[in-house]
């Protein structure tokens, strides 16, 4: 009887667990189906699932760029790096790249993510090496789901307007050539892969995503090549229910990202015009500094050494340099004052998205583990 009571409790617990899992799973699946349908409307003209697109149209995930701010405050002051403005650029520039890639009509969905997506079909990351109004230098890396590096190189662009004249221009056109080069290099890198290789990348991406959610179920599907890249060992059946669930979960995640992405774009539009002014200001300052340095080099004081005119020139040169530096800092502060609330809102939304995804992942993992347990009797 002792055994029977324990068995009854276990059985009751299992029933409750089964019911709750079925309920949760139904909610997730129902939600995901509705949202997936909605996504197709939202993403009209942009194929997002492997079945609806050409094999060459890989989905691209672009992560927010590394702002490239030295940790030492004294160092970044010397380099004229303004951390808050770099934070804006780190969020803005991936969207510029995204726009260019979308316009090529050569890729699947192109998304900007707050953090790295290891299972992305093609993950593009970047770091700002230099951005001072005169030039933009990015270190860009693209790696596919199997772990192959498509490109890893620096891109430099001197900021000029389309007609070669100075003046306020759209930030987009200012960096057009740089982002065009990245798009072109991605295009060239893809041309090195045949359809089979590209299809494999899509499958590896799905399997890596599945492995992230249900490691014990999908642990044996991928292996490692000697060069460290992922290779497919075997594939799930076409009607594998667990794999189908995971695919649907992924669509839900994409939907959330796309919704947040739209909000980001609205915020970017707010910041962009101010950022263009800032960039133009920095460009003018850099130009002025160059002109001033040249002028000073050419016209050093002819006053006799030790005369008042000579020592006044020495002092005035320093005063001019420091005053210019302070002016730049005050303008940076003014820029920060203006965009600060918007940037904070963006950062908050990024944090919310990350929290949401983290919670959802944990929930999805639990549900999948429960389903797996119910279907197989094996613990995850």
């Amino acid at each position: 009887m002792h055994h029977g009571r324990g068995f009854a409790i276990t059985r009751f617990t299992n029933i409750c667990r089964t019911l709750s899992v079925i309920l949760l799973a139904s909610v997730v699946m129902c939600f995901s189906l509705q949202q997936a349908a909605g996504q197709l409307q939202l993403e009209a003209g942009v194929a997002s699932t492997a079945n609806e697109r050409r094999v060459s149209e890989l989905n691209i995930s672009i992560t927010a760029f590394e702002p490239g701010v030295p940790s030492d405050p004294l160092l970044y002051r010397g380099l004229q790096v303004f951390p808050r403005i770099r934070a804006v650029e780190a969020l803005l520039l991936p969207f510029r790249l995204r726009e260019i890639l979308v316009e090529t009509n050569e890729w699947g969905a192109v998304r900007v993510l707050p953090g790295p997506d290891v299972a992305a079909e093609l993950l593009v990351s970047g770091a700002i090496v230099r951005s001072d109004g005169e030039a933009l230098e990015l270190q860009v890396r693209a790696i596919d789901a199997s772990g192959r590096v498509w490109l890893d190189q620096a891109y430099v662009s001197a900021v000029t307007s389309s007609n070669g004249q100075s003046g306020v221009e759209s930030g987009r056109s200012g960096y057009q050539e740089l982002f065009d080069s990245i798009a072109e290099d991605l295009h060239m890198a893809r041309a090195l892969h045949d359809d089979k290789a590209l299809a494999d990348i899509v499958q590896v991406s799905s399997l890596r995503y599945a492995y992230e959610l249900a490691p014990s179920v999908f642990g044996g599907y991928l292996g490692s090549a000697p060069d460290g890249t992922f290779i497919i060992q075997r594939l799930p059946a076409d009607d594998d229910p667990m794999f189908e669930r995971i695919e649907r979960i992924r669509q839900v995640e994409y939907l959330v990202i796309d919704t947040v992405d739209e909000r980001f774009q609205a915020l970017n539009a707010e910041i962009e015009s101010i950022y263009d002014l800032w960039r133009e200001y920095r460009r003018q300052v850099a130009q002025y500094q160059n002109d001033e340095a040249t002028r000073r080099q050419a016209a050093r004081s002819d006053a006799p050494r030790g005369s008042y005119e000579a020592i006044q020139t020495l002092y005035d040169n320093y005063r001019w340099a420091r005053s210019e530096e302070q002016l730049r800092e005050s303008r940076a502060e003014a820029f920060d004052n203006e965009v600060g609330p918007t940037v904070m809102a963006m950062e908050l939304r990024v944090a919310e998205l990350e929290d949401w995804l983290e919670q959802q992942y944990a929930e999805w993992r639990n549900i999948l583990a429960e389903i797996f347990y119910l279907e197989t009797g094996l613990e995850e």
């Binding site: 405050p73 000579a310 320093y318 004052n337 203006e338």
Partner: protein, 231 residues
């Protein structure tokens, strides 16, 4: 020709007059507390402090008095500085004095002080900035010179090192009542060893409170709203 003892005296005099800051201990003390609080708005006290002409006059008199036996033939006047140093040196000391006078003409300035930074904001001139991170004092540096700063006891010292051995240093000493500030500004030429110091005194004042809350923005410049008290 000057003899060695006279040279030594001359050097001591020059050193004493120059009040060169000692920056060996430019590293702040370990407890992260600033030795003194200089923050506030400061207004020049014209009743006190040096007059540049009188200071120059005193400087030359002292120099002359210190080595009366070194006057050269043809320079009978006791007060004639030309008896002791070359015309070039005289021109230089006058130039140093003039620059010291120009630099210290400001009527008011504001000192902001935090745990990691001291900033002296001056009209018509650059802000002197001294940052303290990891216990090390760090001033600004440009292609045209560098600022070295730090605490010398409870005196804050900022020294600007410029090309051709030109140095401009400011030594800030706050009175025990915290309402008065003494600033000794020394302009010197390390190449010649000549220097000139001017003392200025300042009293603390409370700026008239504005009825507006203002903020600098990039695209709209300064934006002000009515302050809380005015509504």
């Amino acid at each position: 020709m000057l003899r060695w003892p006279s040279l030594l005296i001359l050097c001591w005099l020059l050193a004493a007059c120059s009040q060169q800051p000692t920056l060996d201990n430019a590293v702040r003390s370990d407890d992260n507390a600033m030795p003194a609080d200089l923050s506030g708005s400061w207004e020049r006290d014209y009743w006190r402090g040096d007059d540049v002409n009188r200071t120059l006059d005193r400087w030359f008199r002292q120099l002359a008095r210190s080595t009366p036996d070194q006057r050269l033939p043809g320079y009978p006047s006791l007060d004639n500085p030309g008896a002791l140093i070359s015309p070039q040196s005289v021109a230089l000391i006058l130039a140093l004095a003039r620059l010291a006078d120009v630099i210290t003409r400001l009527r008011t300035f504001t000192i902001s002080q935090s745990e990691h930074e001291i900033s002296v904001e001056r009209d018509q001139d650059f802000d002197m900035l001294c940052e303290f991170y990891d216990g090390v004092a760090q001033g600004a540096t440009t292609d045209y010179g560098a600022e070295i700063c730090g605490w010398d006891g409870d005196q804050f010292v900022s020294r600007l090192v410029l090309p051709d051995g030109l140095l401009v240093s400011h030594r800030f000493t706050i009175a025990p009542d915290s309402e008065n500030l003494h600033v000794a500004t020394t302009v010197s030429s390390s190449a010649t060893g000549l220097s000139f110091t001017l003392s200025r005194f300042y009293t603390k004042f409370e700026p008239y409170p504005s009825q507006f809350d203002c903020i600098d923005t990039f695209s709209r410049n300064r934006v002000c709203t009515m302050g809380e008290d005015s509504r």
